[in-house]
């Protein structure tokens, strides 16, 4: 299972790059794909699954993509 992660910070320009610990970098207002392996390593590192970790986070939106995917 892979995930589509969208990061949107209202204060910073569209496209400004942000680093998310354990996931790599994403441009503001854009999405990145988190594949199954990266999601697994993220869970080991952060102690929580991706969806649970970002639950309630107003600036990060997580969507499940069935069938996996590449980062």
């Amino acid at each position: 299972m892979a995930y589509k992660l969208t990061f949107s910070h209202p204060d910073f320009p569209f496209g400004k790059r942000f680093g998310l610990t354990g996931l790599g970098s994403v441009e503001n207002g854009k999405a990145m794909i988190v594949n199954e392996e990266l999601a697994r390593r993220f869970q080991i590192r952060m102690g929580k699954p991706l969806t649970e970790h970002f639950e309630g986070n107003g600036m990060v939106k997580i969507e499940v993509i069935k069938g996996g995917g590449d980062t």
Partner: protein, 333 residues
């Protein structure tokens, strides 16, 4: 949890909607600010009952009023500097279209910290510090004072932060970090001009400043009032004391005579990486408070130890801090 290191920690700040109502770093608008160190702490003078009861050791301790205080030291980054200056005793203003946005801060005469709506109003902040994975939330935070200094060529800011209360964050979210935009040795320039409300600073760059420290002390205090709560009621401000400290090569008696004559002058300090990443501190009416020149030793350069003080000026501002950045700070537009 095993022991942790400071490097794994982090600090986040977000403007509050209501002064003193803590917002966790999961809220939209949170920014994560890279810092060098911090000492934010719960401050309480515990009450020890001095009851006389056949003992010479106190027998009871009760909770008393508390507040939050401590320092945060960081490498100045124009992406984040406005957040802190909005939460201080300044009148802010925002202009521009993003290439860049320009944030201007001039001293205000506010007697206490408060939230004023819009881009020309001061704010209070919730600050979250995570130490060894454990969150500490501080609400109602403002700057009680701050200093900008050039250390090892880099512009550093030390902020004295006061807050109303401490909370345990409901969630810590996940920090998002931008690339650093700090100011190194090739970014700084200093200009002098005649004191006035709008000097042009058109002269040549000054070349004999050995060090720079601009400090502002708002003489802020946490105020506790009697109510069924222990946290501080508000942060009060006293006299604002802005000073500039440096060391100058002693080449002639011109400035020494200016010191004795209480002559005034204007000073501009600017750190600039480019037009979108710039901090300018204009001090419009500076007077020498100290000018010490001495023979330090056989091998020592003869330098003048200088402290200047920013004074009020009719029709103008004693000083102004301008930040140019692409950050479009939400909630103040």
């Amino acid at each position: 949890m095993p022991a942790g290191l400071g490097g794994a920690g982090w600090l986040a700040i977000i403007f509050e909607a209501t002064m003193g109502t803590y917002l966790a770093p999961t809220e939209v608008g949170t920014v994560w600010v890279p810092i060098l160190d911090e000492s934010l702490a719960y401050q309480e003078d515990k009450y020890y009952s001095p009851q006389i009861r056949q003992q010479t050791i106190v027998s009871e301790q009760k909770q008393s009023y508390y507040s939050v205080a401590g320092d945060v030291r960081w490498e100045v980054d124009p992406n984040f500097l406005p957040y802190f200056l909005y939460c201080s005793r300044h009148t802010p203003d925002k202009s521009g279209d993003g290439t860049p946005y320009t944030y201007e801060f001039v001293p205000s005469q506010a007697g206490s910290a408060a939230i004023t709506a819009g881009s020309s109003g001061a704010k209070t902040a919730s600050i979250t510090v995570v130490r060894n994975g454990i969150g500490f939330g501080y609400a109602g935070c403002v700057l009680g004072g701050y200093s900008f200094s050039v250390e090892e060529g880099v512009l550093i800011m030390t902020m004295n932060i006061l807050g109303l209360s401490e909370e345990t964050p409901g969630g810590l979210g996940s920090p998002a970090w931008t690339d650093p935009e700090i100011f190194g040795a090739d970014a700084h320039s200093i200009y002098l001009d005649t004191a006035g409300v709008a000097p042009a600073f058109a002269g040549a760059v000054e070349t004999n400043f050995n060090g720079f420290e601009f400090s502002v002390d708002f003489n802020a205090e946490a105020q506790n009032r009697i109510r069924a709560d222990r946290e501080a009621s508000y942060i009060s401000y006293g006299e604002t004391l802005p000073t500039l400290t440096t060391e100058l090569d002693f080449e002639d008696k011109t400035e020494y005579n200016n010191f004795k004559a209480s002559a005034k002058k204007a000073v501009r300090f600017r750190s600039s990486n480019d037009a979108n990443n710039r901090v300018t501190i204009d001090m419009y009416n500076m007077s020498y408070d100290e000018y010490n020149v001495a023979l330090g030793g056989m091998g020592d350069l003869i330098m003048a130890g200088v402290t200047m003080r920013a004074l009020g000026i009719a029709g103008g501002d004693p000083y102004e801090i301008t930040v140019d950045t692409t950050a479009d700070i939400a909630g103040v537009s």
